[in-house]
Every structure is written in C-alpha cells, then in structure tokens.
Amino acid sequence: MFGKILKRIDWLTIFIYLSLVTIGWVSIYSTTFTEENASIFDFGTLHGKQLFFIITSLISIFIVLGLEANFYERFASLFYLISIALLLGLFAFGKTIAGATSWYSLGFFNLQPSELAKVTTALALAKYLSDIQTDLRRRKDQLYALLIILLPAILIIPQPDPGSALVFFALVFVIFREGLPLFYLGIGFSLILIFIITLMFGTTWLIIGLALLIALFYLLKRKSFKLPVIPLVLGVIAIILFSLSVDFVFNNVFEQRHRDRFSLWLRLEKDPDKLEEIRKTIGYNTYQSEKAIESGGFFGKGFLEGTRTKGNFVPEQHTDYIFSSVGEEWGFIGTATVVFLFSILFLRLIYLAERQKNAFSRMYGYGVISILLIHYFINIGMVIGVLPTIGIPLPFFSYGGSGLLFFTVLLFIFLKLDTNRLKESF
C-alpha cells in the first residue's frame, strides 16, 4: 500500500516541508544554544525537545498517510465536534501558560487544542461546502459556512489568544474560492483600507479624497451610464460614519497599548522621545527583531555567531520571533531563501488543489493554504516590522509541539488526499 503512495505523493512539497523543518530546528538550536547545552539530544533543552517533536511529527506522517483517504471526509464532522468540545473543556480544565489558558497538561506534553481545531475546522468546512445540498448562492448556506469558521474563533478569543482566533478568518478564502460573491471580500478590504487611512490622515482627508474620486469617476464615465445616486450617497455616508467610528473606537475603546501598536506600525508617532519610549516598551520586540535582522546584513554572521541572538536580545525568539534569528545568522540569503521556500510551497499547493477532481479534496487544499498563508504572512510581517504585533507562530519553524504536529498533520492529510486525486469519490 505504501508503495503506491510513494509513487503518487508530491515529493516537491515534502522536500520543501523537510527543508523548512530543518532550517527551523537549526534556528531554534541557535537561539537556545549555550556552551553548556550544546548536545542535540538533551531533552532538557528546548532544541532537544523540539527534536523530539520533529520525530513525533514524522511518525504522525506515516499514520496520516496510512489511513484510508475517505476516513478524513467521513469523520470530518466528528473531529470538528471533538475539537469544539476540547476548546470548551479548556474553560474548566485548561492550563495557563504565559497568561493564556490554551493548554491541556498531559504530563510530558502540553496539548494546545486551538492548533487541532485549525485542522478539524478546515476539514469540516470542506465537507460542508462539498456537500451536494450546499448552495453558496443561498444566504442560509453562506451563514452556515461562516458559522463553522466563527465557532472555534469565538471560543479561542477569551483564552485570550486573539492571534489564533484571527487565523480562522483566513478560511473565508475557501468560501470565496467556491463562490461567495467577491462583493464581501471587497467590503472587507475597503473597511481595512478606510481604517488605515483614517488613522494615518484623519477623517477630513478621507472625505476630500472620496470627493475627488467621485468627481473623477463622474468625469470619466460614459455618457450613457446612469449614476446610481441613492446607493452612492448611502455608501459615502456609510464610509464617513465608519471613519468617524474608527476615530472614536481608536481613542476611546482601544487601550493605550493597542494604540501604541498601531502608531508604531503605521509610523504615526513622530516625536522622537515618545518613539524611544515606545521602542523600550510595547515596540521593544519589534525594534530588537528588526535590529537583529538588519545586523545580519547580506551574508549573515554565521551559524551560532548571532550576537543579538546569543544575548537573548529578541524576546520570544525561539517561538514567534524565530525568523529574526535566521536574519541575523544567515543574512539576506537566509531570509530570502525562507520566503522563496514558503512562496513555492503555497503556489505548489494551489496547483495541487486545482488538480483535484474531488470537491472535498480541493476545498480542504484551499483550507490548508489559507491557514498556512495567514500564519506566514502575519508572523514574518510582524518580525520584519511591516505588520503590527500579533502573536502567532511561523509554521514548521517556531518552537512548540502542538503547532508542529498539527501543521504537519494539516499538510499531510492534503497530500494523502492528493494521492487519491484520480478518484472522483471515495
């Protein structure tokens, strides 16, 4: 049975997966290395533990590939319910680490059910959307699909772990791929854009810009085209109201630390003294991580030579900020390689998803891409200072057992489905 799988499985994806895991582990080794704990197999050290997690993950690959392909579709709903139950159970039995009640303590290992939920939600969503009775043109079905995504997210927010909750929204892309009107996506992006413009330039400039845009549109429009006056006026009013509410929410509902994060991200703060203050407090991580990456230069300082990494200048460097260690020790060559590997992985996965005959496989494939992509985008964006600080791990890289295990399972379920791509149904 494995012979067949080995023949059909996508080796490029496996190659990239193994490369990323290797580079990730080497980076973790750098961040936790000291002269005293240089041994690789010492499970008392973080890099030793991570090696154990990698081995566990590799074993899980065989299990995932060994199971029947239709097993995943058939039990998708059950898995989903189990993970929802586990998320609920956290409120009663959860273990608190670093302020977040996100783990079950299993003695040698802390299980993070939100990581599991990413896999099961992707499966459940694929199953629901691929059902013959689901029609995305129906409002009700749109709503159901959204609910599948929102339920785990809502349970994760109060842990509190807003970063992980955010990840689930990426699954909306799957619904779009399958026919949710792009109109929704347009609205979503517009809201983000208005939010940013309001913070950077203020409501007044937004209104002026809007007026100019409409004037331009009016001048360039074809004579025959009738301007839909009422929707347009309503739209403009809605935008202005939203913009005003952004101002209000930002200044009155947000806490200072949130405001600081945004002012750091959008470079809103111009006063050098305050900027210095932000750098020392809320912006400390970003500042240190940017500096570490910058100091690597083009060629990097070399393996185990990263001075800022060794000095632990970047907090959480082995988890969320692992990419900064790549930047310092391997330079632009290292960081560019990682970005390339991820980009090729995603493009390859899209190609794989598109060649699926089976709707469930395709939709699950898009689920996998969406989840991995949002992690990659937010994490690296945060580490290199183009996105505000949102704490989520870099897939296959960051230290953490649950993360690595379930990212591996997430990916390899899809590869397993891909080996069965020629069958329209199982």
Partner: protein, 622 residues
C-alpha cells in the same frame, strides 16, 4: 479570476517581504555595526603613555600612578560611614552627596568617588578596602613632570571632547589626548594603542563569554619613549632669566636644526595642569589675558625684527652685486626720505659694510636697500627679487617645525603694497623702513633664530624641529634631515659675519663679550605701538638680539626677543650672551651680569599702559 486571486496575493506578499528585507539587510546595514551592537561590550586596556626625555637623556615627562576610589552603588552594603570617611579624608555630607550622584548616574556602573589619592593615602586605605563592599580602588596613570620648565613645548593632555570623538573614531568618551605642544603633535607616538577585548553580553548586561572566542581582541601597544631636542639645563636656565620679562628665546643647533631651547615668558609650571587642581589652575592661567602665560610667544608673537634684519638686506645687496665690502654710504646722523629725515644712532660719517653692521647704521642700510631697487627697471621687479631672497631664510611663511601651532610672520610683497598704495603708486622710498627691519616686516622668535642659523651655516638651514629620537633611534624624516639652501651665495656671508663678530668686539654689544668664545651677533631695537583708549601710543622699544657662536664652528644660534626691554644690547643682549656661555661652557663666569639679569624685571614697564596715567617711554634705567 478567483483562481489567480490567491496566487497573486502570495506573490505580492513575497515581493513585499523581500523588499522590506533588502531594505533592512542591504540598504540599512552598516559594517560598523559591531560598534553599535548592544550585545557586544568592549573592554579596553590602556598602555602607559610614552616618556619624554631631553636631548641628553634627562627625563622631562614621565607617568605617576594615581588611585581613584570607585563605587558601584548597587553593590554597596551598609557600612560604618564615619570610619570610612575618615579613611578617605572627606566629610560625611560630601560622601553622601557623592554616593547619591553616583546612583543617579548609574546604579550598575562604576563611578569615581574620590579621585587621585596620594600614595600614602592609598597605602593606608588599601588594607581596609575589603571591608567596604561595592567600593574598590582603580589605578590609573597621570603625567608627571620632572621639570618646572618647557610647559609651552611639552604641552598638556586632557579628556577628549565631542569634536575629537567626531573627528577620530579611535577615541571613546573619557580618554585623554594631547592638547598642545609635543603631547599633541606626537600624540600617536606617545599614546600607543589601547588593547580591546570584545565581550558578549545578554540583554541583562551580563557577560556570557568572549565574542568570537577572542579572535578580534587586541593587545595594547605601549606608547613610544621619545627624546626631544631641548637641552633641559639650558631651557631651565633661560626660564630663570626670563622671570619678570615677556618675550621669547629660541636657540637652534645650526648643524642640525634641532631646537635647543624654546622659551616663552611668562610661562607656568606644567604640573599645574595635572591632578585634582587642574581645572582651577587652567582657568586661572586662561583668564590671565594680560600676561597670557598659555600663549607661546616663541612661535606666536609676530613682531618687527628690528636691526637684525639688516644682515639679510646686506646679504641681498651683496648677492645682487649692488654693493661690495668697500662701497661707502654717508650717514648724516640719519638719512633723508624726500624731505623728511630719519634718525640714526651710529654717530654719523662715511660707512662701509663692516661698520654699518657693527654700528647698526640706519643710513647705510637705507642706502643699500635703495640700491637693490635701483638695479631694476621697475619697483615690482626689485620687490620680487628682494622677497624671493628674504623668504629663502624661512621668513614670511610657516617654517614647518613639528609643533602643532605657530604663525607665518610677514614679508610684504608687491601685491601687499599695491593694495595699500595702488598699483605702481609706490617706490622703494615708501617701504624704506623695511631696510632696518621695521615697516611691514613681522617675524616670530623661532623664525629669527632660524634666520641666524642660516647665516651661521653660511647659506643653508635645517627645518627647526623638536623631535630627536624615538625609542632611542634618531629621526630620519627627510623634512628635518635635509638642508634648505638660501638664495645667497656662501661667499657673501663672510663679510656680514665679520661685521656681526665686530658687534661684540667693538660694536653695540662690546660689553657682552664672553671670554674665550668668539661670537657673532646683532642687536635690535624695535619700535612698537599699542592702543590705549583708542589712541595709538608708542611703548618702550622691544629689545632684540640674535647671535651665534663660535663664529667658525657654530654650535648655537639664538634669538632673544624681550618686549619693551629698550636697547637690544640691554635685556636681549645680556640674556643671549648668558645663554651662549651656559650652553658652550656649562657655567657662567660673569656672575655680575647673571645676577643683574636674574634680578631685573620689566613688570613696571608692563604696568604702564594699564596704569591709566601718563607715562614716559624708553627711560634710561641702567
């Protein structure tokens, strides 16, 4: 559309990341970042600053250990404050205040609590230091002067300032650097190179081992021991003679260009600018704007040279063939410029070159000067030739000696007079004062000494310099070891030197002859003016003297410039004579002469312009 949406998002993200990363890692990257890296600490070890010896190997400047009591506020534990204060020799209030300041500066970093303990205090304190946690004694080295002289030549060191730090990346805050004199000019030699150890730190500022296993670390390179050309004995003697007088003395060894003494009066004890009292003393010296002890007159004071300059005009006239030894010029107790008469003290009568020099006849040199210009069709041509000859003696421009400061002096040229009088609207009679070293000519004492050395060598000089040996090896810099030739033929020097020798045997300095040594010299008496309440007022003439000896084998050439000392033979002549005897014989036979010079001061003379009263100048005091 839906299919390519996700692909284009992925590619957009990839491009965004790569541009941000190349901005950070390629464009913002600076190779100096080891210096800015907060995770790498540099620990310096400083070599001892090089010693300075005189030309005979006598120590001038060395180092002295000093002991600072340091404190790291965070590590201080409760102590018997009263006992500790008694040991340190400070008051309790002061101790508490200092401790507070140290805490404000940094609780973790060391601060100086009591600077520069004496050796005995240190010995007493050292044994008991263990008892006081958080305090320790740090040794450092201070400049030690084995002389009270030559402050102007040796210079001083002080802490680097913002400007130094910006200019030279070598220095870091708190390091010392030569500020003036030899300490500044030979800073690189004397300083050596500090050693540096790179230490890897973590973000709590804890050391976690050497950076790159110490492969970048360097050992300190000790400062070089140097010998300078000064003769310590002569320098100290000269400064004793200068007490109460203002001016400069410069003596040069003609055969090498080595500066034997370089004295500026008034001066100060170099030890004043070291140690605990440094800033107080410095302020006092700096604020004395009347006597100006920090202003080195030997290289800065640009004054009219007066009659010694006549020797150069004689040489130029001989070289240009407009006079010879037998040319006669009549002195009418002066000479006429148009219808105005300029005076002369020589006694009048028919003058030749020889008695023109030893009697310092103004009329003779005015005549010779005119003859130079009459040789040429235009005044411009004459001026160019004259300027070329004069400048070949190192006048009117920087000499190029190895001290950080100095002045050019001034030899006027045709452009200079064109500006004053208009193009071609002046002639030799307009500038006749130059013939006797007044007029527009200015020179510093070191330039006069160098000019004298060139005459002593019969036509060449070595650029005067102060560095003799580095680590026992003679300097080889061709700038100082290759002669500079003047534009005057050697044969023309003999008659002039004969005249200068006669200054001692039968001329203006006949009372200053040293038994057994043949000297050649020339007196000078330079008129000078100042402004008092905006009114140009003449002061007592400056006393100038240049000389070299022995005439046939010159070992010393000297220029002495005493402000408001009146006749050249008076102060300057005496001092020059004593200095030459001291240098050549090692002792003074004419003790009455010496006694007079040691006792006489010109303080009354210097007080006159500031007295606010009417005063007489050029008084016949003795």
């Amino acid at each position: 559309m839906r299919k390519i949406l996700l692909s284009s998002i992925i590619i957009t993200i990839g491009i965004t990341f790569l541009s941000r990363l190349s901005y950070l890692q390629i464009f913002s990257f600076s190779p100096d970042q080891v210096l800015e890296d907060p995770s790498i600490k540099r620990v310096y070890s400083y070599p001892e600053r090089g010693y300075i010896y005189d030309r005979n190997g006598k120590l001038l400047v060395g180092n002295d250990p000093a002991y600072d009591v340091m404190v790291i506020p965070r590590e201080v534990q409760p102590l018997d404050t009263l006992e500790f204060c008694t040991l340190l020799g400070i008051e309790k209030e002061k101790f508490i205040e200092k401790l507070r300041k140290a805490k404000v500066y940094s609780p973790r970093l060391p601060s100086v609590l009591v600077p520069q303990l004496s050796k005995t205090d240190y010995a007493r304190l050292q044994e008991k230091m263990r008892k006081y946690k958080g305090f320790y004694i740090q040794k450092r080295s201070l400049r030690y002067y084995d002389t009270k002289s030559a402050a102007n030549v040796l210079g001083y060191i002080s802490e680097v300032n913002e400007g130094d730090l910006a200019k030279n990346k070598y220095y870091v805050q708190g390091e010392l650097k030569g500020r003036t004199g030899v300490e500044r000019y030979y800073e690189d030699l004397l300083r050596g190179r500090k050693g540096v150890k790179y230490i890897q730190k973590d973000r709590f500022n804890r050391d976690i081992g050497p950076y790159k296993n110490g492969s970048l670390d360097t050992l300190p390179e000790p400062g070089k021991q140097i010998s300078i050309t000064l003769d310590k004995t002569l320098q100290e003697y000269g400064e004793r003679l200068m007490v109460g007088k203002r001016g400069g003395i410069v003596a040069i060894e003609p055969k090498t260009g080595e500066i034997l003494t370089m004295i500026s009066g008034p001066t100060y004890d170099p030890s004043l600018l070291v140690g605990r009292q440094r800033s107080k003393n410095y302020t006092a010296l700096y604020n004395d704007t009347i006597a100006n002890p920090t202003w080195d007159r030997s290289i800065h004071a640009q004054q009219p040279p007066g009659s010694p300059f006549k020797t150069l005009n004689a040489l130029v006239a001989l070289q240009e063939g407009v006079i010879d030894e037998n040319t006669t010029i009549r002195c009418y107790n002066g000479f006429y410029v148009g219808k105005t008469k300029r005076g002369c003290h020589c006694g009048g009568g028919l003058r030749k070159l020889n008695d023109g020099i030893y009697k310092s006849c103004n009329a003779y040199f005015a005549g010779a000067f005119r003859k130079i210009f009459e040789k040429f069709d235009t005044t411009d041509e004459g001026m160019d030739v004259w300027e070329k000859h004069i400048k070949s003696f190192g006048l009117g421009d920087y000499l190029g000696y190895d001290l950080p400061f100095g002045q050019k002096g001034r030899i006027p040229n045709k452009e200079y007079y064109d500006k004053w009088y208009g193009d071609n609207r002046w002639s030799s009679s307009f500038i006749i004062s130059n013939s006797i070293g007044q007029g527009e000519i200015l020179a510093t004492p070191v330039q006069l000494a160098n000019m004298t050395a060139a005459i002593a060598n019969r036509g060449y000089y070595y650029t005067p310099h102060i560095l003799k040996k580095v680590e026992g090896k003679d300097i080889t810099n061709p700038k100082y070891t290759e002669p500079k030739h003047t534009t005057i033929d050697p044969k023309y020097f003999e008659p002039v030197i004969e005249g200068m020798a006669n200054v001692y045997t039968k001329g203006t300095a006949r009372w200053l002859q040293i038994p057994g040594i043949e000297i050649a010299g020339k007196t000078g008496t330079a008129e000078n003016f100042t402004r008092i309440n905006g009114v140009r007022t003449q002061l007592t003439d400056h006393s100038v003297f240049v000389a070299f000896a022995p005439v046939e084998d010159p070992k010393i050439a000297i220029a002495v410039y005493i402000e408001n000392g009146y006749f050249g033979s008076r102060y300057a002549g005496h001092i020059a004579s004593l200095m030459i005897e001291k240098y050549l014989k090692g002792e003074i036979t004419r003790t009455d002469l010496e006694k007079r010079m040691l006792e006489k001061t010109l303080e009354d003379e210097y007080a006159k312009p500031y007295s606010g009263k009417e005063f007489k100048i050029n008084e016949r005091v003795w």
